[in-house]
């Protein structure tokens, strides 16, 4: 995975000065969301496929390797290529695995 060096015209210092604050907020939002899940009145979705995918994505965030966004996109994707026999519902879920989970249950 190439790092595409030099493709962003801003210096790192400019990226920090301009964008640090909005990304600081995003990290705190994620942290608070995870805490909120633990404080929930009923911890009944610890293994929900979306929560599992989110935790895997968070691990990917701390990877030192560039290409984090592509890898997280693929973590959240259906990797198969075979069309479904019939539509299950109109909307996607945001992460892949619900059908696997149903089979296991």
């Amino acid at each position: 995975m190439s790092t595409y060096p030099g493709t962003c015209p801003l210096t790192q210092q400019q990226l920090v000065d301009t964008y640090f604050m909005e990304h600081r907020t995003k990290v705190l939002d994620l942290a608070a969301y995870l805490d909120r899940m633990e404080r929930s009145i009923d911890r009944n979705a610890e293994a929900d496929f979306r929560v599992v995918a989110l935790r895997r994505a968070l691990q990917e965030l701390s990877s030192p390797e560039p290409g984090r966004v592509q890898r997280i996109q693929m973590l959240l994707s259906d990797p198969t290529l075979e069309p479904m026999l019939q539509r299950d519902q109109q909307n996607a879920f945001g992460a892949f695995g619900r059908r696997d989970q149903e089979v296991q249950e």
């Binding site: 595409y4 493709t7 962003c8 015209p9 801003l10 400019q14 301009t18 964008y19 966004v69 592509q70 996109q73 693929m74 959240l76 994707s77 259906d78 990797p79 198969t80 290529l81 069309p83 479904m84 026999l85 019939q86 539509r87 299950d88 519902q89 109109q90 996607a92 879920f93 945001g94 992460a95 892949f96």
Partner: protein, 276 residues
């Protein structure tokens, strides 16, 4: 800066939105046929919708100095119903000669089912029979990679397809490369929740370049931003990009793609308007 929004579902927006778009430099929109939020029950409902797109909507846009063009199809969210798809495919040709119809779209896949794929290829056949441009919707979220791959592979195997006459929309980090590599145009949708932020759209352009790339709001009846393209322009400037490059992406590129339809024209006063 003047711009063209190549993907906006204006039937779902108010005239206030047209005003905002006009005030921020929009000179033209192209509106692909879309899902109403519920499945339509008959081909007659589609005929009414196509009349809305070709007649009423262009008049409404004109009041704000915006040229309105459209694309027709039965959208991927309704593609599962093969019987309805056949009926709608039969009525589309009677609208294709309308002066604001640029082609067939937004066709594609939603949950990536066999029926959706069959309805998609039926629309491709129709576009080929009538030599129409094609505008493609790729699925969202976990379905995007799979759906985009199936669409790209299907079109690449079809010798009738001229990739430069096809816009594959809603590309993201994991799909843009395969779309551009096959010679298609890539559309980046600026959508607050489910698609791409202006910041990530700019990342894609920095990495993959500005050839055969367009950005659009894809504003519809859901949470979306009709002036997403001006937000992109603002963010491009903040990211240190020159106006010449921004102008290429938000104006020259759409003109290049859309001008492949003989019906698409930029009026002289728009062409003469101050470049940036």
């Amino acid at each position: 800066m003047k711009y063209i929004d190549i993907h906006a579902h204006m039937v779902s927006r108010t005239t206030d939105d047209y005003q905002q778009m006009a005030l921020t430099g929009c000179v033209a929109v192209t509106e692909p046929a879309f899902w109403a939020g519920y499945d339509r029950t008959s081909a007659a409902a589609f005929a009414d919708y196509f009349r809305h797109l070709t007649e009423f909507e262009s008049q409404r846009a004109a009041k704000y100095g915006i040229d309105h063009y459209t694309w027709l199809c039965l959208n991927p969210k309704e593609g599962e119903d093969r019987a309805l798809a056949h009926e709608v495919l039969n009525i589309i040709p009677q609208f294709l000669d309308h002066p604001t119809v640029l082609g067939i779209g937004e066709i594609g896949l939603n949950r990536v089912t066999r029926n959706e794929l069959a309805t998609f290829t039926d629309h491709v056949d129709l576009a080929m029979q009538h030599r129409q441009l094609i505008h493609i919707h790729t699925p969202h979220l976990e379905d995007k990679y799979k759906g985009t791959k199936v669409i790209v592979d299907t079109l690449a195997a079809d010798s009738r397809i001229e990739p430069a006459r096809v816009m594959v929309d809603h590309v993201e980090e994991h799909t843009i490369e395969m779309v551009l590599a096959q010679g298609f145009w890539a559309g980046i949708t600026l959508y607050p929740m489910t698609k791409v932020s202006p910041g990530r759209a700019i990342d894609l352009i920095e990495i993959y370049g500005s050839e055969r790339v367009c950005v659009a709001s894809a504003c519809d009846w859901g949470p979306s931003e009709p002036i997403a393209v001006p937000h992109f322009i603002f963010e491009m400037r903040r990211r240190g990009h020159p106006d010449r490059l921004i102008h290429k992406i938000v104006y020259e590129n759409p003109v290049e793609f859309l001008s492949q339809s003989p019906k698409f024209h930029i009026r002289q006063e728009q062409a003469d308007a101050v470049l940036y």
